[in-house]
Amino acid sequence: MDLKLDDHLKDGIRVVDVEGEIDVYTAPRLRELLIDLVNKGDYQLVVNMEKVEFLDSTGLGVLVGGLKRVRAHDGSLDLVCRQERILKIFRITGLTKVFGIHDTVEEAIKARKSEK
């Protein structure tokens, strides 16, 4: 399936819900959304990947690009994902050490709030 993107504010943190496949074809749309959010002043982001069916290195690059942008504003980009097939690519590339990866959106927000 294609990529569906949605976003909403929860406890002052912008949650981006991603559904479908993030690959070389669809990743530019996620990149544009993340850039748009940062340009509008959203620097605390949680990307919910629970409904992501496929993620490749292009998608990883977009997430890293997003993280770089929010960090430039002392912000954060955390991920929500429990799917082993998606987590595997984060482990292969060592990015589990770079991103905060949580089981639920609530946990991601709670962890972020507790760091403040």
Binding site: S57, L67, K68, I92, T93
Partner: protein, 146 residues
């Protein structure tokens, strides 16, 4: 053998992944390995598509899928010159982490796809052909010829 040639458009990479998984399943590749086939073939095709878009957008990307001798093999061949040498997975990951920390500038995907493939397939060969780069990867299979 199944051969696929496609115009180097990002939208076609998904089709290539679907074909690869369908042929792998039919060739007796274990269900537990199909996600690895899907990701590795997708990475190889994404890399080839990007290379073609830079160097030869009119040329198709080619994929060969074969099953014989207990192996399912996929070869993705491009016709783009001057592709950089693939980095080690650790180097690619360090580059990504560095970029996340604000030390890098663009080029995040350089070689990362190949680094991912190297971790996913049992047997990966990256070779230069007369025209471009050929990425060969294989997995165990139980069926006869594809």
């Amino acid at each position: 053998m199944v051969e696929v040639a496609f115009t180097p458009l990002p939208a076609h990479v998904r089709t290539a992944r679907l074909v690869a998984v369908a042929v792998a399943r039919r060739s007796g590749v274990a269900d537990s390995l199909l996600d690895e086939v899907r990701l590795a073939v997708g990475e190889a095709c994404s890399r080839a598509v990007e290379a073609h878009r830079l160097h030869c957008p009119a040329e198709p990307v080619k994929i060969e899928l074969t099953a014989s001798g207990g192996r399912f093999e996929v070869i993705v061949t491009d016709s783009a010159p001057a592709d950089p040498a693939p980095p080690e997975p650790a180097a690619a990951a360090a580059k990504l982490a560095g970029a996340a920390a604000g030390n890098g500038h663009g080029g995040l995907q350089d070689g990362l796809g190949l680094a991912v493939i190297a971790e996913l397939a049992d047997d990966v060969k990256i070779s230069r052909t007369a025209a471009g780069i050929s990425v060969s990867m294989s997995w165990p299979s139980s069926a006869g010829q594809a």
